[in-house]
């Protein structure tokens, strides 16, 4: 059993008075690719926002390499080596493609990823590097978002629904690039609605249902029936 790089213990999350997560327990092991699946509104994005610090929780509910970060500022957490590819890409419209990547590199951590390596991974971006980031196609924007996250040389990278709104052929291409991205010891959490893709690329999977963990298991061992039950909350 490898060491846990990220541990969630009894994580609760609230939007005002509305509770979105109920006592979530979750571990990400060093170097593994973890999938989190669940229906819309199950709490997946809330989970990632809690981890990245955009939502404040109790200190011990989120631990990164043993350090309690539940109440830390998002920019501090980013400096520690957590990066996110946000849902809907959320590129900076006022910045060009290259500037988006450069600002990703603001967190100046040591590692293999730099502008050159990102351009090697996604050559089309180098062609369009001076263009306004929002003038690119959906798939290309997703590449920028991924590159932006990689530029900080994170230890844990989180992908929030990267296939959303993209054509199947683009999704396939991006997922093909995933091993190249995550190889080299980087841990990854992939939040997905596309269950097949999520299981294919991960070693373990959690399923969220209405803010609670309804299933945990090895990606190659869980059955369709287990998933369906956990996904929809049918007894």
């Amino acid at each position: 059993m490898r060491d846990a790089i990220l541990t969630l213990t009894g994580l609760d999350a609230f939007y005002g008075d509305f509770q979105a997560l109920y006592g979530v327990d979750l571990t990400v092991s060093e170097g593994e690719v973890l999938a989190i699946i669940g229906a819309n509104g199950a709490g997946k994005t809330t989970l990632l926002r809690s981890i990245s610090g955009l939502i404040a929780n109790k200190p011990d509910q989120v631990q990164f390499r043993g350090k309690a970060i539940g109440t830390e500022r998002p920019d501090v957490i980013a400096q520690m080596g957590l990066a996110m590819v946000p849902e809907g890409r959320q590129l900076f419209p006022s910045l060009s493609v290259e500037e988006n990547l450069m600002i990703g590199g603001r967190v100046n951590r040591k590692g293999p990823w730099n502008l050159r390596k990102v351009y090697d991974l996604f050559p089309i971006l180098e062609e369009r590097k001076s263009q306004a980031s929002t003038s690119l196609s959906g798939g290309q924007q997703q590449m920028v978002a991924i590159g932006r996250a990689l530029m900080s040389n994170p230890e844990l990278i989180m992908f929030d629904e990267i296939s959303l709104g993209l054509a199947p052929v683009i999704i396939r291409d991006i997922y093909k690039a995933l091993p190249g991205i995550v190889g080299g010891g980087m841990s990854a959490v992939i939040v997905e609605q596309d269950i097949t893709k999520a299981l294919a690329v991960s070693s373990r999977v959690y399923c969220l249902q209405e803010g609670r963990v309804s299933l945990e298991g090895k990606s190659d061992a869980v059955s369709r029936e287990d998933i369906a039950r956990a996904y929809f909350g049918v007894e």
Binding site: R73, D75, S94, E99, V107
Partner: protein, 287 residues
């Protein structure tokens, strides 16, 4: 000839107005905040310049060395201690807090300096002039205009060519994701306000050399800056320069028709533009 002279003088005056406006425009661009106390901060800078020139016995332009960092520091602290807490979707808190700030600054200046009009002495600079054909251009207005152009060019360069500028643009685009990029948004906003007040310091010193000032003139300066921003179009610093020039020309031309109409002419020009082009002449963002 009178008319041409008025236009030229008005253009140069526009440089000063653009300086009033630049800080206002910057802050609105980065954090969508409009600082009602902006004009009073210009006046504060003028008073700081006055005290510096008196205490150190230096030329007002030399006082910039002291006043610019001082105002930048004030801006950073003000933003982090007070104004950061007003940011959000509601427009009332920043408006009312900066309004309260305006009253406090005005009365603090009254307490400290009395209501007597003051002016800084820049010596020969104030009366020196340069001949351009049949026109005689004051060195000070020329210098002011040149400084305005330089400041705006500098701000543009900062915004579009430096990591700090990238940080400003990113934070203004999307505060949450900017934080994921390792940007401490409270710090970024503090730096933006520091930069804006540094520009305000320059504006204040130049104002204090050019005319006499007292604690109550802040409101008028805010209005000039605001009119320059609206005429030029939101989110466009060069547009703000054009806006300042248009305002300045309207005022000086109005003054040649009737000295008592100077201010009114400026306001009318503003209202006409507002009626015909509500988004200004070169808008980049919407209000």
């Amino acid at each position: 000839m009178d008319f041409v002279n008025a236009v030229v003088q008005g253009t140069l005056l526009g440089g000063l107005y653009a300086l009033f406006a630049a800080g206002l425009s910057l802050i609105f661009g980065v954090m969508r905040l409009v600082n009602i106390a902006h004009g009073d901060l210009i006046v504060l800078a003028a008073y700081l310049g006055l005290t510096t020139t008196v205490a150190l016995g230096v030329h007002p332009l030399v006082a910039l060395i002291v006043v610019v960092p001082a105002m930048a520091g004030i801006g950073y602290v003000l933003q982090r201690a007070v104004l950061n807490h007003t940011l959000g979707d509601d427009i009332l808190p920043p408006l009312l807090v900066t309004f309260g700030l305006s009253v406090i600054i005005q009365n603090a200046l009254l307490e400290g300096y009395s209501a007597d009009p003051q002016k800084m002495d820049a010596g020969a600079l104030e009366t020196a002039s340069v001949a351009l054909g049949p026109l005689s251009l004051g060195v000070l207005p020329l210098l002011t205009f040149a400084i305005a152009v330089a400041v705006i060019a500098g701000l543009q360069w900062t915004f579009y060519r430096t990591p700090l500028g990238r940080a400003f643009r990113a934070t203004s685009d999307n505060q949450d994701i900017a934080q994921l990029m390792g940007l401490n948004k409270r710090h970024v906003f503090g730096l933006a306000m520091a930069l804006a007040l540094a520009v305000t310091a320059v504006a204040g010193i130049l104002l204090g050399i050019r005319t006499s000032f007292d604690p109550s003139v802040g409101g008028g300066r805010l209005i000039f800056g605001f009119e320059a921003v609206i005429i030029g179009g939101l989110g466009n610093l060069w547009g703000t320069l054009v806006g300042g020039v248009i305002l300045g020309v309207a005022q000086t031309v109005g003054a040649t028709i009737n000295p008592g109409w100077q201010l009114l002419a400026g306001h009318i020009a503003f209202l006409v533009i507002l009626a015909v082009r509500p988004n200004g002449l070169f808008p980049r963002i919407s209000g």
